[in-house]
Amino acid sequence: MSQDKRHLIAKRISEELEEGQVVNLGIGIPTLVTQYLGDQEIYLQSENGLLGIGPPPEEENLDIDLINAGKEPVTYLKGSSFFSSADSFALIRGGHVDVAILGVLQVDVHGEIANWAVPNQPILGVGGAMDLVTGAKKVIIAATLFNKNGEPKLVQNLTYKTSGIRRVDLFVSDYAVFEFTEDGVKVVEIIEDITIEVLSEKLGFELDYLSAVPMA
């Protein structure tokens, strides 16, 4: 997977965020979104009890107690707060996090996702994945459309283990942006130079635009 694609996805997602929002970023492509926030005030939340994550620390200011949910050292910004894991998940589950940006293994056409259990490996980790899928006001998926074996991540039925019954809102991929509505998945815009027909063929099912007039 090229760096360009990952950054393309991250940059596109940054356009979805609004000034003043509380945002939780998953590991991987979601973390790259911070590079495209410009001077927008976005408040980043970490499951292990921090609202107001700052950039990684300089070597001399490293404090290994102070980490994000991926256990990487971070800093905290002015106006930030620390709280317990129970308070942190009350924030998440209670719908006080505006946007969760998550990676994914699969999304089905109804917007149900699988993002915790890696197939053919012992399933011994879930972390906060299910709480975030369930609780965030809006869930945006950040992922390439195809995995490293060339299999599509957008599928008609999940073959990996579900993360919960909640329908995510948006899937920003390297080919297109998808929105999940009551009528299923719709294409919002095409990012890669490709037609919706070719994209449908690659995925193995028929895709429609969200609106009659394509916004691409």
Binding site: I67, P73, D131
Partner: protein
């Protein structure tokens, strides 16, 4: 009652078969000194409730490698290779719980609440067999509260009464863990006189805390190292 004890006295507070509640997220906020003391005992068959199983050969990882843990309840063990191997061989029982459910279950345990309904994990493999109920048109599952025999807490400072304050994200599960054990032991960087902590900033009131020990670990060069 005198709460400040020598670290080695911790060895007498835990017995075989106990259920331990242990604070920490990775090694941040993990009671490393207390765990080291338990290595010096012959206790076994422990059930441990903790988000992870230590890391980098420290903390709960040591206790596990010594064969003292038979069952671990938490949210993330994938990165602990020896634990994964032991689980595959049937030598370690693992109960996987979503992180927020774990935090809330311990909170409920300490607060005298029998359990709670949550939307998290509804429809997933992790709640197979659990009671489901519809509330205001949405699906919830019932999660039982978690209580323990002994709570191992890591905080930044304690006063001699046992009031605790924490340091940055090392707080994590510790305030809940401090409420939900029959015996609560806190490991701290610094023990101060009563009155030195500002009541406005105390997170864990002393009523929860039974014993206090001073940590032998300090942070140095991006690691937790033994200092004394």
């Amino acid at each position: 009652m005198k709460k400040v004890i020598e670290a080695s006295e911790v060895r007498n507070l835990v017995k075989s078969g106990d259920k331990l509640l242990v604070g920490g997220f990775g090694l941040s906020g993990s009671p490393l000194t207390i765990i080291d003391e338990l290595l010096e005992t012959d206790i076994s068959d422990l059930t441990v409730v903790s988000n992870n199983l230590g890391e980098d050969s420290l903390g709960l990882h040591k206790l596990f490698v010594q064969g003292k843990i038979k069952n671990i309840i938490g949210s993330f063990f994938t990165t602990n290779k020896p634990a994964v191997t032991a689980w595959q061989k049937g030598e370690l029982e693992i109960d996987l719980i979503p992180q927020g459910t774990l935090a809330e279950a311990i909170r409920a345990g300490g607060a005298g609440i029998g359990g709670f309904y949550t939307k998290t994990a509804v429809g997933t493999e992790l709640v197979a067999g659990k009671e489901e109920r519809e509330i205001d048109g949405e699906r919830y599952i019932f999660e039982k509260a978690i209580k323990g025999d002994v709570s191992l807490v890591r905080a930044a400072k304690a006063d001699k009464l046992g009031n605790l304050i924490y340091h940055t994200t090392a707080r994590n599960f510790n305030p809940m863990v401090a409420t939900a054990g029959k015996v609560v032991i806190a490991e701290v960087d610094e023990i101060v006189e009563v009155g030195e902590l500002d009541p406005e900033y105390i997170v864990t009131p002393h009523a929860y805390v039974d014993y206090i020990i001073e940590s032998k670990y300090v942070k140095k060069g991006g690691k937790y190292v033994e200092s004394r």
